[in-house]
Symmetry: C2
Subunit: 370 residues, 2 copies
């Protein structure tokens, strides 16, 4: 796009959208465009906040009222401000240093007698967010308190801007998409109609990582090649033991990743989550182990094979569940995204450990199977 | 909770929250509570809309203005209405039949000369949603147009209520959670600290379904027991072939499920999506097939085993990808949730078809392997 056209487009959009676009431009183009923008001062100011911070999400276009103004003076002031902005449903009151002191709604303004001072009707207990806080924190706060707008302040409590709930809506949807994509090893910029040339490399890279971890399972199996040669029927139950572990693990990991994302649990709840999921794993393992073991025993006419399938199933479901709790919690503690490739860890562990227990038991009890 | 306490609590919350709670009560308790509520008329009115419709999401607490009122008359009217409601940032203008005719913001109201008639400043082109539309449609519309409130109308265009963006925020988060949970076979009411007694049955039921589909893979393998007995090394590569197919399929299905949820694609795009993903599958299959085949050939010192692993990998990645596109699109066409148990279909198909191709090829080429 020619610079002139780009400037024309940027001058027409909101300050925060404008800043996001400038942030995504190649640096040399951004340098060219920036001095030509109408709102360059605002944009330069906004550029100092990372895109994923509360400051990066806010619009600086906010009106600052004084506590000693009357309703009439305030309405007069609002009339003079040419309210072309879509924003203020809430009005913010600041002191002489620009510190946020109170909030009132336009409806309160209209509903009060004209000579009331703002100090009398404003709410002093204002929920706000620090500019350098994560944008997810801002979203969480707005969702928790059912807010339509959230003021953003600096370290000294000075009002810098405001985040509206339509900005946050996009954040929440993006975050959920990101989590789903990351669990499947897709990068966040994946999209269904991304050009093949761009889509192929990251997906291939992920499958390559998968190939390495799948090799772990293959190596485990290769340790027991001799056993399989003697009892080929073991190969029949290999995918069952591994698969059931994998499915149980995916259930746990999905629940933990989502609960962390929604702020329902924190890393401090680790022990409680482990106890809870371990109990469930035991129940799942015993029931599924009994059923699968019985099927195997009848099908292959071998009590011992049935017992080995059952015990391996129990062990693997327990193993995958614990991995399903520990992987996202550990990633969270390391300040990484808990969803990051969590699927791959569960599959690797449930395959490798599942085969180790199953084929290991079979090797120990080989004399009973042949 | 005793009925008196419940009534006291319900009288304190918003109408739409109140209705949601009444909707979730056991029928006999709802019947007891309903006649005692202060806002029983509103709640009974709201109860006629399903919880997952736009009508179920709206609050009926909306002010209706007339086009021939002046700004001064309107402000007077707003003052008399005791605005305890959090809502109106937008004001709606209706005709004598209650049909939605225009919209204006409180800021416009304040900024215009006192004797202006609303007809002169209101916007006539109002974006609204039908009460019986899906709540996701309402959410999508608000997100698309960056709206903070969306009026809800009946079939005749009469204004029934308004949805605010904080309601929609919850919907979007719930829908994303639901999709993630359903892909993993968790029901939507799953939560990390759900009591074991309630959490165990649905999770067990899902694993039981998994056990049945895993048996399909086991039966497939059992058809080739003789081949495995002769070439036990085949068992080493079984989990690799199945697992890589599964991972490729999960990537595709995640992308399709999320794109459908965000309205980026519809079922009409089926052919385009299939073409796009099939091309990617071919690239992924060839590259991964070559790498895995080479590893197998060197490791087991057999060109033929390498060739079989490579071809089976290509076939299975292509198979799982096509299943990953078709399953969610078919579910969508059948008006079911595209995310519903989609993981299980991919795993089942990629395991069973993967083993069939891999062990089938090995059986055909048995003389080259022994």
């Amino acid at each position: 796009m020619p610079v002139a056209t780009l400037v024309e487009v940027l001058d027409r959009v909101d300050d925060d959208t404008e800043t996001d676009i400038v942030q995504d431009l190649p640096p040399e183009q951004a340098e060219l465009v920036l001095p030509l923008l109408e709102d360059r001062e605002t944009v330069v100011h906004l550029l100092q906040y990372p895109e994923d911070s509360a400051g990066g999400l806010m619009s600086p276009d906010v009106l600052r009222l004084q506590a000693d103004w009357t309703i009439d003076e305030t309405i007069q002031y609002l009339r003079e401000q040419h309210p072309d902005s879509e924003q203020p449903y809430y009005l913010y009151v600041v002191d002489s240093d620009g510190r946020l002191r109170g909030i009132l709604s336009l409806r309160q303004l209209i509903a009060s007698p004209p000579n009331t001072r703002l100090a009398e009707i404003m709410t002093r207990d204002v929920i706000s967010v620090a500019a350098h806080a994560d944008r997810e924190e801002a979203a969480e706060r707005m969702r928790h308190y059912d807010l339509l707008a959230l003021p953003v302040v600096d370290a000294e409590g000075r009002l810098l801007g405001v985040i509206t709930s339509d900005d946050v809506l996009d954040v929440q949807v993006e975050e959920a998409t990101e989590d789903m994509f990351r669990m499947a090893g897709l990068d966040e910029s994946a999209s269904i109609f991304r050009p093949i040339r761009e889509a192929a490399p990251p997906r291939l890279a992920w499958l390559m990582v998968n190939l390495v971890t799948a090799s772990l399972a293959a190596i485990t199996v290769s340790l027991f090649e001799g056993t399989i040669q003697k009892v080929a029927a073991l190969a029949i139950f290999m995918p069952m033991v591994a698969g059931m572990g994998g499915n149980a693990g995916i259930q746990t990991i999905t629940l933990v990743v989502r609960s962390l994302a929604l702020g329902e649990i924190t890393t401090r709840d680790a022990m409680a989550v482990i106890r809870h999921e371990a109990t469930l794993a035991l129940i799942k393992g015993i029931v599924i182990g009994l059923v699968a073991g019985t099927i195997a025993a009848i099908w292959q006419d071998s009590i011992w094979l049935g017992a080995i399938v059952g015990v391996a199933m129990l062990a693997n479901i327990a193993n995958a569940t614990i991995v399903g709790v520990l992987v996202p919690l550990t990633l969270k503690m390391l300040r990484a995204d808990p969803a990051l490739g969590s699927g791959i860890f569960v599959t690797t562990f449930s395959d490798a450990i599942g085969f180790l227990v199953f084929l290991g038991l079979a090797t120990l009890l080989l004399s009973r199977l042949t």
